[in-house]
């Protein structure tokens, strides 16, 4: 909707980074964490109750496989988000022309970096329980 009725803004619109990348840089880690928690919870409660803990493949239970897969992919997503946030931060750094970069966006990029680091740590920590339950629930 934003673009449909564009009011003539007094400042030129920036080209890079785009809004989408900016927001992904800020929220990517948080969303990865949220997905990790929701999926882990669903795997653990819905999976364990449905008996997936009893199916084994290569020595690990189905629940453990799923959990590890979710953990690895979510850590990876958070790392990607962090990479994007770091690049955003450079894109908005001080030496870039202040006409085109506002400290609001620079701040978002910077907080994205901090938040993503935190969420990477928390996703890893949150995967620890899977290690203790490799054989079943």
């Amino acid at each position: 909707m934003e673009g449909t009725n564009e009011y003539q803004a007094p400042l030129p619109r920036r080209s890079v980074p785009t809004d989408g990348r900016l927001w992904f840089g800020v929220l990517g880690g948080a969303i990865a964490w949220l997905l990790h928690l929701v999926l882990s919870y669903l795997i653990a409660e819905f999976g364990c109750v449905s008996g997936w803990g009893e199916h084994h493949w290569m020595g690990l239970s189905l629940v453990a496989w799923l959990g590890l897969a979710v953990s690895v992919s979510m850590v990876a997503s958070a790392v990607v988000a962090n990479g994007i946030a770091t690049r955003n931060q450079k894109g908005f750094s001080k030496d870039v022309d202040s006409e085109t970069s506002s400290d609001g966006e620079r701040f978002m990029a910077r907080s994205g970096v901090l938040a993503n680091r935190f969420f990477i740590v928390i996703i890893i920590v949150q995967s620890i329980p899977f290690v203790f339950y490799l054989q079943g629930c």
Binding site: M1, W33, S102, F118, I122
Partner: protein, 847 residues
């Protein structure tokens, strides 16, 4: 109240216009006027005073309980009365004091902090207040009826079902629904206000920390309160409608209530705690004359807001859920401590070596740090699953959450009150009383709650009206009771202090503490519009630094900001107006029309109360009266007055400021409000779908024995009709944007016909399916999930009809108010279709 403001930048508007400006912003007179008030400042004060009254009542209940527990096997209160008192104490403190108080504080101080003249939807402020007030009254009427809620503030099913609890629980559930509406409404208000009404130049990087915390709490409230609203709806349906969501005998699930309740309940703690930390940051920043780690603190706030939704299961460690799933929640519960740790260390670093003056606000901050760190430590401990198995539901937990909630919320609130009351009343409080209050509160609090840790270890469960002498807990309990009275004496001193300050308090200057934020630029107390000239912000600390050193404003932005604020200097005079700015960069985007005094919020609230009370009294026909009152009031509220739109179109403000008044998309506050509202709808749908699959997971057979599968063909056809309406509406929008008058009418008619066809076929299909909502949890879920899109569609149809009628004459207004209405209506309709698709997938398609 309405003395002219002494802003930094003096007004240059002629006196005659200034007078008209003041008249426009003046509060309506007399008692009827009092009822129609919508301005954020008087309503904020009302919120806070009402919450304070409930705080005192809740405190008296607590003292009565402490008297009962002072010695073992006491007979001061019977078990029935004690159970009622602890239920009401918990409910009052959680629902009627802490959240509404902080909402009131936010509503009052928020516009002053961000440099706007009011909040985004003034009439919603009033609606929030009335629903809160009526909800609170409904809670307490139960005492006069003699049917007091007694199932605890958490109302676990089946104890709270109609089988085990009387009418009191209906008062509880319905009163709570009203308070939830109030909380959600305030959340919409706060979120949109912060994102759209900040002063030009107040980018996200320059928002005061308190604003960040209120924003986080507002966003959390949207999701948390909505979940609770769904949960209480299910409970009330079980109690009065005979549904079986929580009835284990009919396939219902009692743990579902706990999941939903704690999905609300845990964030709730942070909804209270985060704004409280925001107050701490404000006070610490002012007293240390700097604030270190701004970015760390804001990230910590946002992380807390996020992660708090991932902790709910740690209230359910003892319910026998799969061990593995407990592990994740233990991890999240431990790691959220980091966010609090960062904040604590940021305050310590800020205060380091600054020799802050030990005046009452700072004393309470230091008391907060001491108490909250202890509460945080026990919080980390109870996240540890096996340890929680021992201390869960014991006095250790009582100690823990009072350390967190009194230490983490009441002490900061005291700090904030000593800090801001001079701004509210124009009088300084008496410092000696403040110090005495601090020492009484601090010592009394620790005397009361520290021994409770030990009582928990020695086997005292929560919520017991007495205990046996063989537990040897008399000494600890007596000590705690004495402490409670010391603490209460401190609180009384606080009230006395407020009263006495009116006579003996020195008049407050604009900025008695040397604070850095915008509220200190207004007079004490501030005028109802806050700022005669909207301020331009050039740094994080507008009162300390003229502009930030590392990001000087560009000339073009500065010029746009200047033009916008100069245009609003003492204007608009005929209607209340304020600036809309970009959510991230705070560059001016539009001028927002703020409605003046109105009775409609009161009528909506009354209609809601009538409907709910008739549910309670089981006079079902009167529900319709309530709904009718509500519908009429809402209709009058929402329908734009034709002369108003005309006046806004012709206003010279747009030319002066170079900004539109009636506008669309994300620069329209109404559009932002609709997006926020839709996130509420989305959350309610998520909660319902979760309930469906959760009950299904623990059911041996689905649908239960004796119930057939729903007819796929019929439901597919019916939902298909609704899905087709989406492209039809897209077509209507395209026609509207291009100004094709007849196509608009035709396509909108198509949408409406499809909606009607959906309703007819769907109602028929559900009746034809014939599953009873009273015979199984499956039936109850099927019924409720089927009705959900019906309601959405009916409301949507009304919106569509409204837009279509208006498009008849105003189809050319493709940039202004009509366009906004089309956008908002379409947004709602697409969401309705999406919701219906999700429900179709859940009920019919899911394997």
């Amino acid at each position: 109240m309405s003395e002219p403001s002494r802003n930094v930048e003096p007004s240059s508007t002629p006196d005659a216009e200034l007078q008209q400006f003041n008249a426009t912003w003046a509060s309506p007179r007399g008692f009827p006027g009092w009822l129609s008030e919508v301005n954020n400042r008087p309503l904020g004060i009302r919120f806070m005073l009402t919450a304070l009254a409930f705080f005192l009542i809740g405190g008296i209940l607590a003292l009565l309980m402490r008297i009962q527990l002072a010695v073992s096997e006491n007979t001061f209160l019977g078990p029935d009365l004690y159970n009622q008192l602890f239920t009401m104490h918990g409910s009052t403190m959680m629902y009627l004091f802490s959240v509404p108080f902080l909402e009131g504080l936010a509503l009052y101080i928020l516009p002053l902090l961000i440099g706007s003249r009011d909040v985004a939807f003034p009439r919603l402020t009033a609606l929030g207040y009335w629903t809160y007030l009526f909800g609170g009254i409904l809670f307490y009427i139960s005492f006069f009826v003699g049917e007091v809620p007694d199932a605890g503030w958490f109302a676990y099913t089946p104890l709270s079902s109609s089988k085990y609890s009387g009418l009191g629980l209906d008062f509880w559930a319905l009163g709570l629904s009203l308070v939830e509406v109030s909380g959600i409404v305030a959340a919409v208000e706060i979120v949109v206000t912060i994102l759209k009404l900040r002063a030009p130049g107040m980018t996200l990087a320059r928002m005061p920390i308190f604003v960040w915390t209120i924003l986080a709490a507002g966003l959390m409230s949207l999701f948390a309160f909505t979940t609770l609203l769904v949960a209480t709806l299910l409970l009330e349906l079980d109690r009065t409608g005979g549904t079986k969501f929580f009835d284990a005998d009919f396939g219902g699930n009692n743990l579902l209530w706990q999941h939903l309740f704690w999905f609300f309940g845990h964030p709730e703690v942070y909804i209270i705690f985060l704004p409280a930390t925001g107050i701490i940051s404000m006070v610490v920043g002012t007293f240390a004359r700097r604030l270190l780690g701004y970015t760390y603190i804001t990230v910590a706030i946002l992380v807390t807001a996020f992660v708090s939704f991932g902790l709910w299961m740690h209230h359910m460690y003892t319910t026998g859920l799969p061990e593995l799933s407990l592990g994740f929640f233990a991890a999240a519960s431990l790691m959220i401590a980091l966010a609090s740790g960062v904040q604590i260390f940021a305050w310590i670093a800020t205060l380091w070596g600054r020799r802050p003056a030990l005046r009452p606000p700072l004393m309470f901050v230091l008391g907060f740090i001491f108490i909250f760190v202890l509460g945080g430590m026990t919080g980390v401990m109870v996240a540890v699953v096996p340890f929680d198995w021992q201390v869960h539901d014991t006095y250790f937990i009582v100690a823990h959450f009072h350390y967190v909630l009194i230490g983490g919320a009441v002490f900061p609130i005291f700090a904030g009150m000593y800090y801001w009351i001079p701004k509210f009343t124009g009088r300084m409080m008496l410092p000696k009383l403040g110090h005495l209050n601090f020492w009484l509160s601090f010592v009394g609090f620790n005397m009361t709650f520290f021994p409770m840790h030990i009582m928990g270890f020695f086997g005292m469960p929560r919520r017991v009206y007495t205990y046996l002498p063989i537990l040897e807990l008399d000494g600890y309990n007596l000590f705690a009771t004495i402490g409670a009275f010391v603490f209460a004496a401190g609180t009384l001193l606080f009230l006395l202090d407020i009263l006495l300050s009116f006579w003996w308090g020195a008049p407050a200057r604009n900025d008695p503490w040397g604070g850095d934020t915008l509220e200190w630029t207004t007079s004490s107390p501030p005028p109802s519009y806050g700022f005669l000239v909207p301020p331009v912000v050039r740094s994080r600390h507008p009162r300390w630094e003229a502009e930030t050193l590392d990001c000087p404003p560009s000339a073009s932005i500065e010029a746009a900001n200047q033009r916008a604020t100069q245009a609003l200097d003492g204007r608009p005079t005929e209607w209340r107006g304020t600036l809309v700015t970009h959510a991230v960069n705070a560059t001016p985007q539009a001028i927002h029309y703020l409605p003046g005094p109105s009775y409609q919020p009161l009528f909506v609230a009354i209609g809601l109360v009538v409907a709910l009370v008739s549910v309670l009294l089981k006079v079902h026909l009167v529900i319709l009266v309530g709904v009718a009152i509500m519908a009429i009031a809402l209709g009058r509220w929402l329908s734009p007055k034709p002369d108003l739109v005309k006046r806004l179109r012709e206003s010279d403000m747009a030319d002066r400021a170079g900004l539109p008044i009636l506008t669309t998309g994300s620069r329209s506050v109404a559009w932002c409000g609709m997006v926020t509202f839709l996130s509420i709808l989305a959350m309610s749908l998520v909660a319902l779908v979760y309930a469906y699959f959760y009950i299904r997971l623990y059911s041996p057979q689905w649908p239960p024995a004796g119930v057939s599968e729903p007819s796929r063909l019929m439901f597919t056809l019916s939902y298909g009709l609704l899905v087709v309406s989406a492209p039809a509406l897209m077509w209507a929008n395209r026609s509207f944007n291009r100004g094709y008058e007849n196509q608009i009418q035709f396509s909108m008619t198509c949408v409406l016909l499809l909606a009607a066809a959906f309703l007819a076929t769907n109602v028929y299909a559900v009746i034809d399916y014939g599953v009873s909502i009273n015979e199984s949890a499956y039936g109850s879920l099927f019924g409720l999930l089927s009705v959900y899109p019906w309601l959405l569609v009916v409301v949507g149809a009304l919106l569509l009809i409204n837009a279509q009628t208006r498009a008849w004459s105003e189809f050319r207004d493709t940039q202004g108010h009509m366009a906004m209405q089309m956008q908002v209506t379409s947004l709602y309709w697409y969401a309705t279709v999406a919701a219906a698709v999700v429900i179709f997938g859940t009920l019919i398609l899911s394997p």
